[in-house]
Amino acid sequence: MGRPTSSSSSIDSPNHFAFSSTASSQRDLTTDLRLGLSISIAPPFVREQWPPMKAAVAEEEHECNSSTFYVKVYMEGIPIGRKLDLLAHESYYDLIRTLEHMFHTNIIWAEAEMDRDHYEKYHVLTYEDKEGDWMMVGDVPWEMFLSAVRRLKISKC
């Protein structure tokens, strides 16, 4: 097995994402995502050099099938989770719509408006990021979210 090329050391850089959120709408989003995510598609463990393999074998065999990116989604109170392909969605709105349909509820996220009198009908959507912190969905640009998200959680209000 060969040795890694030097490109692997650049994965850690927070400036790894070459595109800005305004320009991306004009480009082929899936290509950008594939480029930006081809390594981080396996957050967080590629950044943390896992699994323990000599990188050349990993890089050669990883036939970028990154047209999908499944994350686990749990709803509070239901032990069995679901899986969702984030790359099948174009934006937060798209994602929220899918989740609301999947879990039969109203989802609160950064840009949602809630009817405070009926809070029991709402669930808050959060995600676990690479550092293990739980954050509200919707604060950062969609592409940035995709690179940071590990899994989703839908909690009661």
Binding site: E48, P51, P52, K54
Partner: protein, 585 residues
């Protein structure tokens, strides 16, 4: 009278007796018997192995062993293979070569692993050692084809040039043509790591032609399938062969030429290479398969049915390296066909995929453990495991010496019971009494370390990641594993207590690596202060460790025993905790 006779052997007799003692351990024991044996032994030691190039200085080695002909050096810690050691960390061989150039004019063999080798070093080797025979650069970096050209041109009696898994700067493919026409001595040539333009094929053919003793040849990926037959016909005496690219459009004449060339190699026992395999060309190997003892298919992206067919032709197989495309079904076939199997390595084809892409589970390994009674060495990547399977494997294979399991998702529990895998690994260390090397994975508590400390008495190397609950885990290992030489840990909640309580243990080991754990800067300083025989090095690429409170954990820590004192080639992101160095600053 009796006493005098015991000491009356002339030195030459003792020297002759010692010449039959090859192992380093035995040689070291001999040198401890008495002063005169120490003296005689040191003058006739010809081979030196240095497991950590910073444990001793070149000058010290030369002073003690003035007549060395063969040296082996290792540089970076093992976790450098997984990019955990930053570039520029160290492991430079130049100073060693420079000092040995003066002291060992008859040095014939240099074997290096994980070291930084520059063209300057290679040129110095070429210039300095008139009887140079063997150069092995295993997982090395820092040199180019220019350095190789110097070696080829100057080393008139070169027997072995092995560049396995090294990173070489390709500047020109013509270095191979630098081997003079008079060079006919090659026995082993491994250029499998070279890129596309680094080999002049015609020079290679001519070289192979004029080296009748060539036993081992590993080509690089750029060599196409149609060229294999030419090479093999020039070297039918090969024992070990690595193909290049094994892909081409299926053409009957190319196929029959290839099959004929393989069948003419009556000594061929070991195959590797196989980049980009076209399955239709695999039957060209069938004539030699019955003799094969070693098969490395770790680059071969072929699916299970083709793998099964191939493996079923190799009843004498002792060693198999393969991708997880082999699947459980392929491993079941392996278990029934290859009763001599001693070593199995299964690598993941899609290590970063969230979903499994192949049907490879713990069942495959269980099947092999059941069917292959001689199994000794395992490296297995998979996505699920159970305690029950590990217990079965342990009971089936009590002769395991190396067991490395990597469950791809960290902290994965037993998929049947959701328990930690403590009991399973416990069974491995309990039943496999000769286990020398172990790598853990999955969900593990401090209990697994209790088992390891209790039963792992012959364990020499342990790799741990994302495991344990507290310092107690580390304490079990350091206090219980009597034979421990190398311990490497990442992402575990181990802190100061176990390390400080077992500081003396560290002097009996080669090295300890801890990264993303909870060892404080203060503890590192204390260790550096109290343990002069240890080099305690803190690695931090973001900021100096003393810019933060002492209680703050260090990013990476590498501790190793050394008689050379702190090293002087540390890059800015490595800090020595040695008091002497700090005073100088």
């Amino acid at each position: 009278m009796q006493k005098e006779m015991a000491y009356s052997f002339p030195d030459e007799v003792l020297k002759h007796v010692f010449s039959f003692i090859q192992s380093d351990k035995d040689r070291n024991a001999v040198s401890l018997v008495c002063k005169s044996w120490y003296e005689i032994e040191r003058w006739c030691r010809r081979k030196v192995f240095i497991g950590n190039c910073y444990a001793v200085s070149p000058r010290m080695v030369i002073r003690r062993f003035p007549e060395v002909r063969s040296i082996e050096l290792k540089g970076k810690p093992h976790f450098a293979d997984f990019n955990l050691v930053p570039d520029g960390w160290g492991g430079y061989v130049l100073q060693w070569i420079a000092e040995m150039a003066g002291a060992y004019p008859w040095l014939g063999e240099i074997r290096l692993k994980r070291m930084v080798v520059t063209d300057e070093s290679l040129e110095l080797i070429a210039k300095s050692f008139k009887n140079f025979k063997v150069l092995v650069l295993f997982s090395c970096e820092g040199f180019s084809t220019d350095g190789l050209a110097a070696i080829a041109a100057s080393c008139k009696n070169l027997r072995e040039l092995d560049l396995r898994e090294s990173e070489v700067d390709d500047l020109s493919g013509h270095w191979l043509a630098q081997f003079p026409e008079t060079c006919t001595s090659l026995v082993s040539l491994n250029i499998s790591c070279l890129g596309s333009d680094e080999v002049s094929f015609s020079a290679l053919e001519r070289l192979v032609d004029r080296c009748p003793n060539l036993r081992s040849l590993q080509l690089n990926r750029a060599v196409t399938l149609d060229k294999i037959a030419n090479i093999l016909r020039r070297a039918p005496q090969l024992v070990d062969f690595g193909t290049g690219n094994y892909a081409a459009e299926l053409q009957p004449d190319v196929f029959s030429n290839l099959a004929g060339a393989f069948s003419s190699c009556k000594e061929l026992k070991s195959l590797s290479g196989f980049w980009d395999v076209v399955p239709a060309y695999l039957p060209a190997l069938y004539s030699i398969c019955p003799r094969l003892t070693s098969l490395n298919l770790s680059y071969a992206t072929i699916q299970s049915p083709d793998l099964i067919k191939l493996v079923s032709h190799c009843p004498r197989l002792q060693r198999l390296l393969v991708l997880d495309y082999v699947e459980d079904s392929g491993l079941e076939e392996l278990a029934s066909s290859c009763k001599d199997l001693q070593e199995l390595r299964v690598f993941p084809s899609d290590p970063f995929g969230v979903e499994p892409n192949v049907s490879l589970t713990e069942q495959g390994l269980v099947a092999v453990s059941l069917g292959c009674p001689k199994l000794q060495s395992v490296l297995y990547f998979c996505r699920r495991m159970s305690n029950a399977a590990l217990v079965t494997i342990a009971q089936n294979c009590p002769n395991l010496t190396r067991f490395r399991l990597c469950i791809i998702e960290p902290k994965t529990p037993d998929y049947l019971t959701l328990d930690p895998l403590d009991a399973g690994f416990g069974a491995i260390v309990e039943h496999c009494k000769d286990l020398r090397r172990l790598s853990l994975s999955g969900l593990l508590t401090d209990h697994v370390f209790e088992y390891i400390g209790t039963y792992g008495k012959k364990l020499e190397m342990l790799s741990v990641a994302f495991a344990g609950d507290s310092d107690l885990g580390l304490h079990h290992v350091l206090s219980g594993c009597e034979s421990l030489r190398k311990l490497e840990i990442r992402d575990c909640p181990f802190g100061d207590k176990a390390l400080l309580a077992n500081a003396a243990k560290l002097e009996t080991m080669r090295s300890l690596w801890m990264s993303s754990c909870a060892v404080s800067f203060g503890a590192c300083k204390l260790l550096g202060q109290k343990m002069p025989k240890l080099n305690v090095e803190v690695i931090d690429e973001t900021e100096p460790p003393d810019s933060r409170p002492e209680s703050y954990p260090v990013d990476k820590l590498y501790i190793y025993k050394s008689v050379a004192g702190p090293r002087f080639d540390m890059p800015p992101f490595v800090w020595s905790m040695d008091e002497a160095v700090k005073i100088l600053h």
